[in-house]
Every structure is written in structure tokens, then in C-alpha cells.
Symmetry: C2
Subunit: 260 residues, 2 copies
């Protein structure tokens, strides 16, 4: 967690009830590319991040990586490509994040909380002062799976033209990174200190514990898993659970389990 630190300015501001953003806040934003098809897009996304002061790139099952085209397109963002972390699943990539924001330029039927990317950028930065936040991009053609989407708390919408809404992946990263930087540069606002949110990994543990208990008591039938688990997963992702709340719930589940 080396990147997560509170700087002197911020501490001084906190005493006055003022929260200050600075360049370091952007270092707590992770860009996650999920199953990218074209290695050139990975490089171009890294370049886009670099121009806006972001540097934490996560790749979930890229089709081809490392790849010369990723390096070429990265230009000045080559260090970000070289330092990118590879993950087998989106859940792994989000494990140490407070929450994830999925992105889309398309209108969708969905139950997630949706906002424009400008609003989402301000929300992300408020959390990123003290915890890591992920911005998640789906595959160029297929987007995110339903299961992946359930891991995200918010959906940030780039308001594209109805006639053609298919932004290039790196262009979408550029717009989001630009909005994050603009939010960082915005005058400090007097906001309340954000509560300490549980990480995605902590929430996942809670979810697994719940599922295990549900199975054991016969409430959840592993033969027909589709209705209950996604709903619970989406609920947890949306609820923005705090660390204390997760601890309480897990303690409760443990107690219930012992009871039996």
C-alpha cells in the first residue's frame, strides 16, 4: 500500500475541515482493462494515463501481452506498460480497492447507480484521498460480463452520440483520466471525511461466508445458483460497505454458523 499516503497539505486541511486533492490522489486510481483484445490499445491507454498523471494499470486476461505494439503505442507511457500487473480475474484486480467504477458510452438497461463520468470522477477522487479506487473498462467488443459488472459499485457514462457511441478503448481511458485530472485540479471543497470503506476482497470474503452458510442451511441450492448469488453480489457492491460493517456482518455469520 506504498502509494496510499496522506500528505502534509491534506492533514493540515483536515484540521480545518478542508480536504485537499493533489497529484498523489491520482496515484490511488487504478485503471483496469478487462480482456483487452488489441495490444495496441493497452499501450495507447497507458499513454493516455501518463498524460494525465495516472500510473496504476491492471490487465485482466489480456489476449496478447507483453506485445511490441503495446510498447510502440505507449510512447512516453512505456513505464506504465512495463509496470502493469496481470490478473486472472477482475475480482483479483480489485481486491485491494475500496470500490470499482465501470465505464460505458452506451446506454444500457442496468440496475447499477449510473452517473456521468464527470460526477463519477469527483466521487472517485474523494475516496482516493485515502483508499484505492478502480476504473474498469470492458473488452473492446463485448464489454463486461454480467458477473464482472456486479463487482462494480458505480457505472460511469460517457455521454456519446446515440448514432455512434463506440469510443476507442484508449480514447475512453483518455476521457476518464482527463476528468479525474480536472477533478484533482478543481478548487478544494469542504467535504466531510469519507468513511473507511471495505476493500473488494473483504466484501468478497463476506459474500463467500454468506453463501457457505446459506448452502449449509439449505437456503441456497448450488444446483440453481443463478438467482441468489448475483443479487447478493450486486447488493454488496452497491452498498459501499464500511470496514466496520463488514466486520460486524462477518462476526454475525460466524456466530450463526457456530450456533448450528
Amino acid at each position: 500500500m506504498a502509494k496510499i499516503r496522506r500528505v502534509a497539505d491534506d492533514e493540515a486541511g483536515a484540521k480545518l475541515g478542508i480536504v485537499v486533492n493533489n497529484e498523489d490522489t491520482l496515484k490511488n486510481i487504478r485503471v483496469v482493462l478487462t480482456r483487452p483484445s488489441h495490444p495496441g490499445n493497452i499501450g495507447a491507454a497507458a499513454r493516455a494515463m501518463k498524460t494525465m498523471g495516472l500510473d496504476d494499470l491492471a490487465l485482466v486476461q489480456p489476449r496478447a501481452f507483453p506485445h511490441p505494439e503495446a510498447d510502440t503505442r505507449a510512447r512516453g507511457g512505456l513505464d506504465i506498460v512495463r509496470a502493469a500487473h496481470l490478473y486472472d480475474s477482475l475480482e483479483d484486480a480489485l481486491a485491494d480497492c475500496a470500490y470499482a467504477i465501470a465505464t460505458s458510452a452506451r446506454h444500457r438497461e442496468m440496475r447499477h447507480e449510473t452517473m456521468d463520468v464527470r460526477t463519477a470522477a469527483h466521487a472517485a477522487l474523494a475516496t482516493a484521498r485515502s483508499q484505492r479506487v478502480a476504473i474498469v473498462f470492458g473488452n473492446e467488443s463485448t464489454g463486461l460480463t454480467a458477473e464482472e459488472a456486479q463487482l462494480c459499485r458505480l457505472w460511469a457514462h460517457i455521454p456519446a452520440d446515440d448514432g455512434y457511441s463506440s469510443l476507442n478503448l484508449a480514447s475512453a481511458v483518455q476521457v476518464c483520466a482527463y476528468e479525474l485530472r480536472m477533478a484533482m485540479l478543481a478548487p478544494a471543497s469542504a467535504e466531510a471525511e469519507a468513511p473507511q470503506l471495505a476493500s473488494v476482497a473483504q466484501v468478497a470474503q463476506l459474500h463467500r461466508q454468506l453463501v457457505a452458510l446459506m448452502s449449509r442451511v439449505g437456503y441456497h441450492d448450488p444446483q440453481r445458483p443463478r438467482q441468489l448469488l448475483p443479487r447478493m453480489r450486486r447488493l454488496f457492491a452497491r452498498a459501499q460497505l464500511e470496514v466496520d460493517e463488514v466486520n460486524i456482518l462477518r462476526g454475525f455469520l460466524k456466530a450463526l454458523d457456530r450456533e448450528r
Copy 2:
């Protein structure tokens, strides 16, 4: 000037002192790529425009165009590539525009009025309700020449990271097009009706007339042209001259010329 039209909503709004933006306003924004080196960037820029509802693309001395790579990268913006207009000079590309906004992600020493791209987008849209406005992008490596920069009234700055500020050309187009679309989607504001600005061609005529007269009276020495003409050009570009003002000045110069 088929694209320039005032819609019913706007006219109704004008009576109430309210000015309304809509999708048609974006059609009065021209994206000008000046001496682009890579045909792929032309296509990618067209795609970026298409996603945000822009469609007027002008190319000044592209190195290679038409080109298969431009077509490939354009994807859904192929119609914009096909309809792009070619020009020999930036001045020609701007001839029918009220004014031009140059873009940059780099900090520069310059005398132009500089603002961030969000502010510039609002200014451009206010004018684009009734007149064409150009957003000008320089060559990928060399940017705009001093002479080209003098043709632009404003300089829009994408606030990039000091460590690496080199956005991909199409990414810069994407950010600007996105801000134009966001400005278009912003709630209608009660703004005063913008005055009818002189076109770049009208201002250029005024400039030529002035230079001719200066030469004839011996105030301008064509052997040492560099100090006076760029200054006058920059002044005119910055001044945002209205049609009436240009007519008055040109009439005055004509009268002075006759006087001799």
C-alpha cells in the same frame, strides 16, 4: 452554409432571452487537423468526432490522404473521413469560420488568450449557435507554426501532466469533442445573443488592405516584414471583430487610399 441554421427552439428561447443548445450546434464546429503525419490519426480523430456528434473535418496538407489506414481506424466515423475537405493552408480552412481555437496540452509562452478546454468549449458553443467555429490541432510532432497560431483567437489548453504532456492527436480530439458535447448537454443558460462576428476571410481581407496601404505610404517596408504584419494579424485574430466593425475599418482604409 447549409449547416448554419437557427432552430425553432432557439428562436422561441431567444424571445425569452434564453439561448438553447442542441445537437445542431455541434454541426457548426469544424475540426481542423493541420499537416497530420499519420493517416491512422485522421481516421481515429474522425471516430472520436463521430462518437460526440461532430462531423465537419478539415485537413490542411495531410502527409498521406486518402489512405487505407485512415479508413480502418475511422470505424463508424468513415463517413466523416470520406466527407473531409482538403485545404492548402490553415487560412483557407478557416475562411468561413467566425474564429479559430488552437489546442495544446503543453504550456507555452504565448500572447494568445489561454483558457482550459472546458471554458473554451462553452465559448465555442455560444458562437456556434449561429456561426461556424474551428478547433485547430497542429502536427503530431511540431504543432502549429507561429503564422498558423496567429490565425487563432483563443488557445485551449488540455491540462496535462507536466512530466509527459504529449496526448495522441486523436485522444486530444476526443477530449475536445467530449467537452463540446458536455457543453451542448449543459442546461440552457440565459446568455446575451452573441454579435455577428466577421469571418476569418473578411478579417484577412481587412489585413491585406491595411498592409497594402501601409506599404504604399511607406509605413510598412516589405524588405523587413516580420515585425509589423504578425502583430497586426494577431491583433485582428484576438479582437473578435464584428462584421460591422470590419466594414467600417475597410471603408475607412478605402477612403484614406482615395484621399492620396
